[in-house]
């Protein structure tokens, strides 16, 4: 199974110029080449962020993605009194990301295994989780259950969406409850953590994978480093809340470079696939 070049757009993180300086090694990288290398620095392998839709193209068997609930959008249930109205923020995020909200969900094949997938997009209000993220992930989990497919969620999020208040907070319980039914049915859930996965997303579904893999160098933590810093009034250790730190502390199974992610998922999903005489999920 060879990797194909998964996308054409190089929009993410490269506004308008031709070159990007790598924060990992300082090298100046030619954008086109960077995109061709899956937004990974060709010199130090620093993983730049990656869009939610590009992620799906990267991971699933070519042409197999069937999107669900693509037109679902946010309401403003709290009529949130921000410096900018919440609907205006949504509109801006839509324009910036090209997405309707911070997650894309659907069915696809991964290494020929029929799978349900959700992929978050950090460009949409920091990948924050409000009602739409909660509802779309819950639905795709429920559909995975109904059709006995494994579920893969790729997270990239700052946490719950403040503008939806406790309604956003409750999405954590809602999604986790749906994952619980998936688990009860013996269906696998693989959680993929990318830069950044923090707050209420990490404190709910992102931490509950049967397997959890992370991209190299991703920020993974519950509290923002700023909050933690203030709390203890001292500098945090280098590498704090990065994938490698989290691996060492026992919370993820593997760190997987972006280029290998697809094959790795295919291996796991195939391994978990029930043997013929004991059919428990869709073949």
């Amino acid at each position: 199974m060879r990797l194909r070049m998964p996308f054409a757009r190089g929009r993410k993180e490269f506004p308008s110029h031709l070159w990007t300086q790598c924060p990992g090694c300082g090298e100046m990288l030619f954008n086109k080449q960077l995109v061709r290398n899956l937004n990974v620095c060709t010199s130090c392998e620093h993983h730049f962020r990656f869009g939610g839709r590009e992620r799906i193209e990267l991971l699933v068997d070519r042409g197999s993605f069937e999107e669900h609930d693509s037109e679902m959008t946010s309401a403003d249930p709290l009529v949130f009194a921000d410096s900018k109205p919440y609907p205006t923020r949504i509109e801006a995020a839509r324009a910036k990301s090209g997405e309707q909200d911070a997650v894309i969900t659907g069915f696809a094949l991964i290494g020929e295994v029929p799978t349900a997938i959700a992929s978050m997009d950090f460009d949409f209000i920091g990948g924050s989780m409000g009602s739409v993220v909660g509802e779309k992930i819950t639905r795709v989990a429920e559909r995975a259950l109904a059709e006995r497919r494994p579920l893969v969620i790729v997270s990239a999020s700052g946490g719950a969406r403040m503008q939806e208040g406790t309604i956003a907070l409750m999405q954590m319980a809602k999604i986790v409850a749906a994952l619980g039914r998936l688990a009860d049915a013996g269906l696998p859930f693989v959680s993929v953590l990318t830069d950044p996965t923090t707050g209420g997303v990490l404190a709910s579904y992102a931490s509950l994978g049967d397997l959890i893999v992370a991209e190299p160098g991703a920020l993974i933590g519950f509290s923002g480093a700023r909050v933690t810093d203030q709390t203890i009034g001292e500098k945090l250790p280098t590498g704090f809340q990065r994938s490698e730190f989290v691996l060492e502390h026992g919370f993820i199974d593997q760190i997987v470079p972006r280029a290998q992610l697809r094959d790795r998922l295919a291996f796991f999903l195939t391994a978990f696939r029930p043997v013929a005489h004991d059919m428990r999920w869709s073949l």
Binding site: M162, T166, A173, A177, D184, A203, S204, F222, F240
Partner: protein, 321 residues
């Protein structure tokens, strides 16, 4: 929610809750006496307010505290044990703030470490194993954000705690006593019935935190508090809590005994009701309760709908364009 199952539901639209035991189930009923969001925050944080231990001492007949997560440490910010109420044994788990600076330091201001949540999970499982109803008492500014907590998996612990509650095969009653701070509160917050004391607050982020992000100023916390809709009547209107437990005039801090009595009345009434519901119905009602929270906009036409109308469409508060 549960009333539906028992077929006892009256005409009153009460978030699945009968207006029994003097509970407040309609925000309009207390509109007249309602203060500002910021006042609610201050009342909820009042160090003189009854905390978990006070409520336990006043609401139950006997209590034996149980310690430890069996993994790393006994976290003093979370207390739990077996209690007796009117001859019924229950498991109680709550976040514990201090009433003095000294006690607050010992209790880490009610901010649990991961081991606190893991102790909670252990006690949830104990409740499930012996079919004892579970009562949780929420009162925390949030999960502790320190580096040790991060190292030991604060997020994982919260996630597992939420997961355990969503599937716990025994009745679960949640009471927000004071501050319901974010995911660190929700880790104790998934129940068949979610109650809150009248002046409790429950929020996705602290007003100060929200102000720092929204208005780039901690001083705007009052404004943020109001925007977040975190006070009791808001929570009732949004369907986050099922009912409010009335506090004595002036607030719970003025009379711990009366407050504990009100909690006791609410608990006995809820437990009496829930204990008659078969476990499978309890679990599906609990699922639906949280499943229904969320407001989204969906075009009535557009993308091909799933083959048949799936059951999960029921109940969600959707705006159809």
């Amino acid at each position: 929610m549960v009333d539906k199952l028992l077929g006892k539901r009256t005409a009153v639209e009460t978030n699945g809750h009968l207006p029994e035991a003097g509970l407040i189930t309609d925000a309009r009923a207390i509109a007249a006496t309602r203060g500002t969001a910021w006042q609610a925050v201050q009342l909820a944080r009042d160090p003189k307010r009854p905390h978990a231990q006070d409520v336990i001492a006043g609401a139950f007949d006997r209590f034996q505290e149980l310690h430890g997560d069996r993994l790393f440490r006994d976290d003093p910010a979370v207390i739990g044990g077996i209690a007796e109420i009117d001859g019924l044994y229950v498991v109680v788990v709550g976040q514990q703030k201090g009433s003095s600076t000294e006690e607050n330091i010992a209790r880490n201001f009610g901010m649990p470490h991961p081991e606190g949540y893991r102790k909670a999970i252990r006690l949830y499982r104990l409740a499930e194993k012996f079919h004892l109803p579970l009562i949780t008492l929420i009162d925390t500014p949030g999960a502790f954000p320190g580096p040790e907590a991060e190292e030991r998996g604060q997020a994982e612990a919260i996630a597992r705690s939420i997961e355990a509650m969503t599937r716990l095969a025994t009745p679960v009653v949640v009471v927000v006593l004071g501050e319901g701070g974010s995911g660190g509160a929700l880790a104790l917050g998934v129940g068949d019935v979610v109650l809150a004391l009248e002046n409790a607050v429950y929020s996705v982020i602290s007003p100060e935190g929200a102000a720092a992000i929204l208005f780039r100023s901690n001083a705007e916390a009052q404004r943020a508090a109001s925007a977040l809709r975190l006070a009791g009547p808001d929570l009732l209107e949004l369907g986050i809590v099922d009912a409010l437990i009335p506090e004595p005039p002036g607030g719970a801090q003025t009379d711990h005994t009366a407050t504990a009595k009100a909690v006791r009345a609410a608990l006995t009434s809820e437990l009496e009701r829930l204990s008659r519901v078969p476990t499978a119905d309890l679990l599906s009602a609990r699922y639906e309760r949280f499943r229904a929270i969320g407001v989204v906009v969906e075009p009535s036409a557009g993308q091909a709908p799933p083959k048949k109308e799936p059951w999960w469409r029921r109940g969600i508060g959707k705006v159809r364009l």
